[in-house]
Symmetry: C2
Subunit: 286 residues, 2 copies
């Protein structure tokens, strides 16, 4: 086949693959599941990537046994050097027909490269969250992006967790909720199909799936739009938390980045930003 | 054999089994690993229990093929009715030679039963944390005990996490640490055998083990005793958090429990209490 290039955008819940011709035409696109190797493991990650790209080859009428020229991937969780190298080594060994060469970077850097070749700040809030400053000289400064065990502030996971923790703490009389918990409690029982707090334990441990847990955030967004004060509160807190990520990298922003027509470019990526109206007030105070 | 009774005390890091004769004499004791089924799964939990009890039978010179009369277990994580019933059903099916009958309660209730037949408040802080009020009429009121994903405030896991999160947030410029982070950062790198924060990711996800993570708390206790301010700070916060659990159940304490010679009985269980000197000031303000 003539030169074909592949690209993968990997998220904590969904992923996408695309094949592009040497002339820059899109030949095929496919969807797939979470490809964050910290969440699903290396095996599921590279299986998912291979499956998406191979399906795209067939969809484009290409021979699936012919490797693409190169496969560029911007992956949620694609940061740690040793881990990335292992992903590439495993793909080479396991799927020699996938691609001739490989490149992996984080979802944050991938998004920034799409929007600007000059730099700026990218703030991701999807299943997880992350913030990266890219300066015009290419240097990067990060804040967050450590996953749900050590951060993810302002992400869908974090918003879901904050709302549910508020219900647990109110039930325990440990912390008083700032607002009535009934809407969130009922939405939680419906979404997770449980009848009490005890029923949440499997969802937190044995059958915990970050993307499913984070998906509860959509119900909270609905509640917030419908006027529930606790739902609105957790999104306001998310806005604050994400703004604090930007504030954290501000001291390292190169002077030149402020001189654009619209000032410092801040790129907001991820599905949580669809609830911007609910987050705005918190974001402004953060 | 003449009537032999078994008991198991199950923790989030270690467990113990004991065999007792009808006359109340201890026949044998054995140790084992974590038997919290939320942490290690049902299979490892019941395998661990069976292994400890069978070893105890052999140690006591008893026939391992003869079931004990009954096996009473007070288990970390032994709360949810459906989950407990599954543990018992699985033990019956898998290990018919283990015991004739079974009883499971939580570690908190087990500890309280050991100390008093009248009731009081038990506050556990070991690998995880939990608080239970037992009133003289047998009614129970809980606070916490939801595990590391939804609580565990004041536990060894929580103390370790707070210290490490403080290092991450300081590195990210996200939150300023109240004290110098160098001691904790170095202790973390030594304990987890990592050279930077990225190296912590496997310990938080792929190879995460709650009991190993919580074990870092011991290094923080050493640092606190040696005068490191950040180590002292996280224990002070733990003291506050545990005191808040007691405050949370206070409104439900039966009047009679205050009338003992020493006032309300508060039973403190778990290895974190060994650092009482470090927690005292926080506990008093909490």
């Amino acid at each position: 086949m003539s030169a074909v290039y592949g690209g993968v955008e990997g998220g904590g819940t969904h992923s996408k693959a695309v094949l592009v011709s040497a002339e820059g035409h899109i030949l095929a696109e496919t969807d797939g599941p979470c490809t964050n190797h910290w969440l699903v493991g290396v095996d599921n990650c590279i299986n998912g990537i291979n499956d998406m790209v191979q399906r795209a080859k067939i969809k484009a009428g290409l021979d699936p046994d012919t490797p693409v020229c190169s496969l560029g991937m911007s992956l949620s969780g694609g940061e740690q050097k040793a881990a990335i190298q292992k992903l590439i080594d495993d793909m080479r060994e396991r799927y020699p027909k996938l691609s001739q060469s490989y490149f992996i970077t984080t979802d944050a850097i991938g998004a920034m490269a799409t929007a600007s070749d000059y730099g700026g700040i990218v703030v991701i809030s999807g299943t997880g969250s992350n913030c990266k400053l890219v300066n015009p000289d290419g240097t990067q400064v990060g804040c967050g992006g450590w996953g749900h065990m050590m951060g993810d502030e302002g992400s869908a996971y974090w918003i879901s967790h904050l709302a549910i923790k508020t219900v647990f703490d109110a039930r325990d009389n440990l912390v008083t909720s700032p607002h009535d918990i009934n809407y969130v409690k009922k939405a939680m029982e419906e979404y997770f199909q449980v009848s009490d707090l005890m029923g949440m334990l499997p969802h937190l441990y044995r059958i915990f799936q970050k993307s499913h847990f984070a998906g509860f955030c959509r119900k909270l967004a609905e509640g917030g739009s419908a006027g529930d004060a606790l739902c609105q509160h957790v999104f306001t807190e998310a806005g604050k938390a994400l703004a604090r990520h930007i504030v954290a990298v501000l001291p390292r922003v190169h002077q030149d980045l402020f001189s654009g027509e619209l000032g410092l470019p801040v790129l907001c990526v991820g599905s949580v930003w669809r609830s911007w109206e609910l987050m705005k007030s918190g974001y402004m105070t953060g």
